[in-house]
């Protein structure tokens, strides 16, 4: 046994045992407000130096004969196969491949012998143990700690029940703080084991391709041969990580592990899962969120072929049948009566009117900023530039509709499906079932998109399928129709804002105020990157009967649109070029300025454009990543926008897998353009008007830019996220391009509504 450099974390084997008492119920639903997907994501390191009982539990869950678990996160088999356990779920963002290659790089493992598997939805793989054990030692990640409000730290340290994928957190936190450290520490243990076996100093050994080599004697040992002994050794907790020049995998293009199964139909998503004797159910919830089921005559459904059962919930009716079509037809045969929960007057127009009224009353719930904005705006008088913006609710529109399978058998509830927090899902299901959390087993499956919709805190299908499964002896899969999905979303907030500013005699912005109205106080996003002497951000809290959910890039979508549209207006008022005007308000030589310069250069900013076309620029920092985008656009004969070309320049520190990073940024940009051009959830009489993809307008290939030029600036800055930051600049870049093309400002989204108006 080698000397243990950190006796306080000495590894001991302990009997597999629950690592924390699991409280029954009484735990508040974790509803993700205040951009907390980001903040909680900040705690998403998972367990890496957990206590020994947790490691024993993980070992019991993941290892078979001939396999050796290290620190819960990985195992090595005697045939050299390295399996990495990802606590994050891959919903299309390439997380599994990225986490695997980060660990493999530090381990010096042969990439073709590395597999990445979904970690069990067990507390041994929760996100929180690191916060418990490492809170005081995260000096390498001051940004993370600073980004975590006290309340969130408290929540993390209290609860073992979080295993989140969100906040663009997997690679930059779990990968950087967890996977790389584990890979490096295990590599050292393998070297120590080899040194002991070969009787040579560890310093004479080298590692590559899953082999430890002693060059002087020409002897070598495979990782598989060393695994059993290495697994018994103490692991150093602060191994030296590779520097950029030594990376073998990080930053190199690696094809994604999940893609082959996604081109031949063999990938199994939650909705594809099936069991013998399984029934299929579908549901209709109260059309007005907050409404209740008043009455329903079950007979018409029960008379339909294949229908077996009708189950009523407080606010919904479920039909169970042999197959989905039969369940749907049964459901459509019913005429349930629902109340409106007192929200019958709620409408899109009423929400904007209420928001305006709230803002005009002038009593913000929160204010931040610096300098005397009041005085500056007062002094400017009618030279104050003011603009009002508004954006609608947005639907996530994940392509796989919600589907969860549940089976209550022998006192245990088993669940199968795709959710962004498997442990949170167990917690919620346990509460709905009246079970202990240990009696709920959640089997995570890949997701056909998530984008923030699949957090258990806002995912009522968990309750629905649980209540259903507790009443029937067979396994049952509950599938939401697309109509149910569109009408019962947890949408990106409908939000509005008034921005005001003044220009100084030097042509610079002298004061800037953002007054925004929505549920979340999104101070962390509302603060902007520009140097302005006096700034003020005032939040006016407003919520409708809808649940405002996290939507890809959370509040940065609307705040990015407000800020980057408004600074364009200020540039115009100052008679300056929008790129140069932004540039002079950014610190000289800053990362932001470099990103902005690069996108201007690559897009040929200032070069002549075709007749009728315009060019727009926007830059937003979100999730630790700076993204500037340029759009060239024109207006079609029917008044709708046409995107011609698109560029993005990104500084996320280090790019782990360029092939995937490029896809995430381009895809994010297209999602941003889609929302800006056509997407809106509107309310009438408290209920959602849109129903399906015929009236919720997603961008199609014909309207997407044929190609997006994505360029990364590598820097030594802390690694930023990649899944979300491509979204926020897109809407403003497009709106600014259309202003350049037409001279008409766009201050409300989506654009298609504007075109029709």
């Amino acid at each position: 046994m080698a000397d243990n450099p950190n006796p306080d974390i000495e590894e001991t084997e302990a009997a597999a045992a629950p690592i924390a008492p699991v409280k029954k119920k009484g735990v508040k639903r974790r509803i993700f407000l205040v951009g907390s997907a980001l903040l909680v994501g900040g705690g998403a390191f998972g367990l890496y130096w957990a206590d020994s009982s947790a490691r024993a539990r993980a070992k019991a869950l993941t290892t078979a004969e001939g396999e050796h678990n290290f620190l819960t996160w990985m195992k090595i088999a005697e045939d050299d196969t390295v399996t990495v356990f990802s606590p994050h779920i891959d919903m299309g963002q390439g997380t599994h491949t990225a986490l695997g290659l980060m660990l493999a790089d530090e381990l010096d493992a042969a990439w073709d012998k590395v597999k990445v598997e979904q970690a069990p939805s067990d507390v041994a793989f929760s996100n929180t143990a690191l916060v418990q054990s490492f809170l005081g030692e995260m000096s390498g990640y001051p940004g993370v700690i600073n980004a975590l409000p006290v309340a969130v730290i408290g929540m993390l340290t209290r609860s073992q029940k979080i295993q989140i994928t969100g906040g663009s957190s997997a690679v930059r936190f779990t990968g950087q703080g967890g996977m790389r450290v584990v890979g490096a520490a295990v590599r050292l243990a393998l070297i120590e084991e080899a040194a002991s076996r070969l009787g040579v100093p560890a310093g004479e050994l080298t590692t590559a391709d899953s082999v430890v080599t002693h060059a002087a004697s020409g002897r070598s040992l495979r990782y598989g041969e060393l695994a059993a002994g290495a697994a018994e050794r103490s692991l150093t907790r602060d191994p030296v990580l590779k520097s950029r020049k030594d990376y073998k995998l990080i930053g190199k293009p690696v094809t994604r592990l999940d893609i082959p199964a996604k081109v031949d139909g063999s990938a199994v998503y939650g909705i594809d899962f099936t069991l013998p004797d399984m029934r299929v159910a579908t549901i209709a919830a109260a059309p007005v969120r907050g409404g209740k089921l008043e009455s329903v005559d079950e007979a018409p459904a029960l008379a339909m072929p294949g229908v077996e059962k009708v189950v009523t919930l407080d606010d919904a009716v479920i039909v169970v049948a042999k197959g989905y079509w039969q369940a749907l037809k049964g459901l459509n045969a019913l005429s349930p009566k629902f109340t409106d929960g007192g929200h019958g007057a709620m409408s899109t127009a009423a929400i904007y009117a209420a928001q305006d009224k709230l803002r005009e009353a002038g009593k913000p719930d929160g204010e931040a900023g610096a300098g005397d904005v009041d005085a500056a705006l007062m002094a400017a008088g009618d030279k104050t530039i003011t603009a009002d913006f508004r954006v609608p609710f947005l639907h996530h529109a994940m392509m796989e509709p919600f589907a969860l399978t549940a089976h209550f058998k022998d006192g245990k509830l088993h669940l199968w499906g795709g959710l962004q927090d498997p442990i949170g899902a167990r917690d919620r299901a346990a509460a709905a079932a009246g079970l202990e959390m240990d009696d709920v087993i959640f089997n995570p499956m890949i997701m056909g998109g998530g984008f923030g919709r699949r957090f258990p805190g806002v995912t009522e299908i968990i309750d629905q399928v649980t209540v259903l499964a507790m009443q029937v002896p067979y396994p049952v899969k509950l599938i939401w129709s697309r109509e149910e999905e569109v009408r019962h979303g947890t949408y990106r907030a409908q939000s509005s804002a008034r921005l005001s500013a003044t220009l100084g005699d030097d042509g610079r912005i002298a004061a800037w105020r953002t007054d925004y109205v929505q549920g979340d106080n999104s101070e962390s996003e509302a603060g902007f990157i520009y140097q302005v002497p006096a700034t003020s951000r005032r939040h006016f809290g407003y919520t409708s009967n809808q649940i405002d959910g996290p939507w890809r890039s959370v509040n940065s979508t609307q705040i990015g649109f407000y800020n980057e549209s408004f600074i364009d207006e200020l540039a115009d008022a100052a008679g300056e070029d929008p790129y140069q005007f932004r540039r002079k308000h950014l610190p000289e030589g800053s990362r932001h300025q470099k990103v902005l310069d690069a996108v201007a250069e690559r897009s040929g900013w200032g070069a002549p454009l075709p007749e009728g076309a315009g060019r727009g620029i926007a830059i937003v920092e979100s999730f630790g990543t700076i993204v500037a985008e340029v759009i060239e656009a024109t207006v079609k004969d029917d008044g709708s926008p046409k995107v011609l070309k698109a560029w993005a320049v990104v500084d996320c520190g280090t790019t782990v897998n360029p092939i995937n990073a490029e896809a995430q940024i381009a895809g994010g940009m297209i999602m941003g353009l889609s929302s800006a051009i056509g997407e809106a959830i509107t309310l009438e009489k408290g209920a959602v008007v849109e129903s399906n993809f015929n009236d919720y307008n997603l961008l199609k290939l014909v309207d997407a830019p044929p190609m997006i030029d994505v360029h990364f600036i590598e820097s030594d800055a802390a690694m930023g996220g990649i899944g979300e930051p491509g979204v926020p600049p897109a809407s403003a870049a497009l709106a600014n391009a259309l202003f350049a093309a037409t001279g008409k400002r766009i201050r409300a989204l989506p654009l298609l509504t504007q075109a029709k108006a």
Binding site: G94, V263, W325, M399, E662, G667, N692, F693, L701
Partner: protein, 160 residues
């Protein structure tokens, strides 16, 4: 009622109500879950299959209309020896899928386009590829189609 047709070259007979969409017969009766449910109203294309070679949104075709016809699903695109169809291979080479849920339908649409057209132009791709992808993989879908037809390099579209 019993309805007989061919799926991926094999004869099948299913017991289903006449109005059951082909999609649900494929998924639930024949366990061919590569064909996806997206919207149920033929708006997104996730359920695309070929019926007698013609691109068809299977969520909106009653199975009774399929009697006696030949259906090809994503599972049936591979060659008899398991070799991927050139479009599937192009999808891997261009690293198209993200969440992947819509990609069976996208691939079926692309195969139909190429079988009809040989070497589609950008404008023809615009016109034919109407399936929705929420992840925004459209630029790589275009790249893959062009690569599959020899119109462009098959390499992953990285920095341009």
């Amino acid at each position: 009622m019993a309805i007989a047709f061919t799926v991926n070259g094999k004869g099948v007979s299913v017991e289903a109500e006449a109005d059951t969409p082909l999609l649900w017969v494929l998924r639930e009766d024949l366990a061919l879950t590569g064909t996806k449910f997206g919207c149920g109203i033929a708006a997104c294309g996730a359920c695309s299959v070929h019926v007698d070679g013609a691109l068809t949104r299977s969520c909106s075709v009653p199975v009774s209309e399929i009697a006696g016809r030949a259906v090809t699903t994503i599972e049936g695109l591979k060659g008899a020896d398991g070799t991927l169809h050139k479009v599937q291979q192009a999808w891997i080479d261009a690293q198209v899928p993200q969440c992947g849920y819509c990609q069976s339908g996208q691939i079926m649409a692309a195969v139909a386009l190429i079988e009809r057209n040989g070497t589609p132009s950008d404008a023809q791709i615009d016109e034919a590829m109407t399936n929705i992808c929420r992840c925004g993989t459209y630029p790589r879908i275009r790249t893959a189609i062009l690569a599959a037809t020899g119109s462009a390099a098959a390499a992953v579209q990285g920095e341009a």
